[in-house]
């Protein structure tokens, strides 16, 4: 569904990523890993059509994404960024309902049956029934993240782009959020998700896209990426690998030795 070929991306006039090739298939979960500032968010924004690549192309089912009309794009791609605060006192119910925006012509102010159905499905999938009538900003970070995901699901887009959905969340809540996203891939939704925790990414993703040194160093199943020395190269530190009891590989930074 997403096909990127020879993509070069700039941020603030400076080239951050070059020669990016990748495909995202229907129902696939790809985790985007890499050190701070490498261009993970820049790549995500380009996939959402927010920014136009300086070179190369990113297509959605054969059409360059930035050529799609904004509303049409939003019916196919839901992008959840992580950096903005809400100043307004919005109820959870209203936040989720805003997800129906791209399906609503400007003259229609009330929800249709289809809107209601999509909202109900999103609410059920994210288990936020109990706080629908609460004020969004009064919720905990984990609850807020669930609400954002519910909004993105209500949007009904087959492709979900998420920028660090587990930042600020504790281990259990982060696990639940990722499990919820994983669950969505079973119905054919594709997920491209920026993550920081390598082991978290390995546990949930079908493939890991590893960014480093201005390019995509690897795009492979988690076991391969974790075993590869490219991981050490990407982050610029040595990694230790260990095996868990159930046979998964986990990585931790090697202890640093003062010089």
């Amino acid at each position: 569904m997403i096909r990127a070929r020879g993509v070069t991306l700039q941020r603030g006039g400076r080239r951050v990523l070059a020669g990016i090739d990748f495909d995202l298939r229907p129902g696939e979960f790809v985790a985007l890993l890499g050190p701070n500032g490498v261009g993970k968010t820049t790549l995500l924004r380009a996939c959402a059509g927010f920014d136009v690549p300086a070179a190369g192309s990113i297509d959605l089912d054969g059409t360059p994404i930035h050529r799609l009309a904004v509303a049409q794009r939003a019916r196919h791609i839901a992008m959840l960024s992580s950096d903005e605060l809400l100043a307004d006192e919005l109820r959870v119910r209203d936040v989720v309902a805003i997800g129906r925006f791209p399906h609503r012509p400007w003259w229609r102010f009330s929800a249709t049956e289809e809107d209601e159905r999509a909202i109900a499905t999103a609410v059920a999938a994210t288990h936020i029934e109990e706080y629908l009538d609460r004020i969004f900003t009064h919720l905990s970070s984990g609850e807020q993240q669930r609400v954002w995901i519910a909004m993105a699901l209500a949007q009904g887009a087959p492709l979900l782009l998420l920028d660090e959905p587990t930042t600020h969340l504790d281990v259990r809540v982060a696990h639940n959020v990722l499990a919820l996203l994983r669950e969505r891939t079973k119905t054919g939704t594709s997920v491209l998700c920026v993550l920081h925790d390598i082991n978290e990414a390995a546990a949930v993703a079908d493939r890991i896209a590893l960014l480093g040194c201005g390019r995509m160093l690897a795009l492979a199943p988690p076991a391969e990426v974790l075993a590869s020395p490219l991981l050490d190269e990407a982050y610029g530190i040595a990694m230790h690998r260990a095996r868990t009891e159930d046979g998964r590989t986990i990585v931790v930074p090697a202890p640093s030795h003062p010089e």
């Binding site: 904004v70 509303a71 960024s81 903005e84 209203d94 805003i98 997800g99 791209p102 609503r104």
Partner: protein, 326 residues
Amino acid sequence: MLYRRLLPPLAALIAAGVGLAVGGDALPLSQVMHALANPHARDVAHTILWQLRLPRVLCAALVGAALALAGVQLQGMLRNPLVDPYLIGTSAGAAVAIAVALAFGIALSFLPALGFLGGLGASLLVAALARRGGGIDATRLILAGVAISALLAASVALLSVLARSVSFQLTLQAWLVGSLAGRGWSDLRFAVPYAVVGAIVAIGNIRALDALRIGDVRARGIGLDIERAQWSILGSATLLTAAAVSLAGMVGFVGLIVPHLARRIVGSDARALLPASAFLGAAMAIAADAIARSIIAPRELPLGIVLAFAGIPIFIIIYLRREQRR
């Protein structure tokens, strides 16, 4: 929830009733109704109502509703509760145009049109300075608005110092504090088309304003064309503010306070908030104008002064209460 949505129109209706009844000569409500129901009667009450009160009340309603609608849209777009429609330079531009017109002795009947053009010009300049990429940068808009307004205000002060004519000073002063004295049907006819276009664009902006509540980047993610929404909101706010300024000069606080009051009553859903703001703005301006006309009759207070004395305490109370609740 429904009864809360009915409060603002009700307030506007009551204010209109009071506005038609009070003034230099108080008319009992029965006489007001009778004169309204018989537009072709020829008594004194009829003349007062149809030639003086009704156009005044309608002017006040337009000024209040237009400023409130402009304010609520700009606050929503910039997600800044302290934004006022004058921030985008409209009032300062109008004031300069008026001051220049007065300095050159241009006929008073041209002032509304000149004020309108001056306001529009200054807003366009501010918008041009606030451009970034295809859209508008919130911080740049606020900075450009403050800077241009300050420059234009200094120009007005300069003209005022150079002119040294008493009539110039008095007319200019009336514009600067905001007043509806002497406004009638012809002024209303000039301003209504712009206000109506601004209001129609505002209705088209409702959907965007709702989406903007979740932040610019997220709103873009759900398919809002941010740039188009920003220009549309700015365009509507400029038309509405310029129409209000052309009628009444720089009436302060309505555009700042009314959206807050409306939000308290109907919540932040733009579908309810925009009409509520318009009705409350109209109610507030009509009521203030009624006070301005009657409190020291037969003389008049400028509308802007009454609104400031009524508006600022309300504003302070809202903010103090907010702090206490948190």
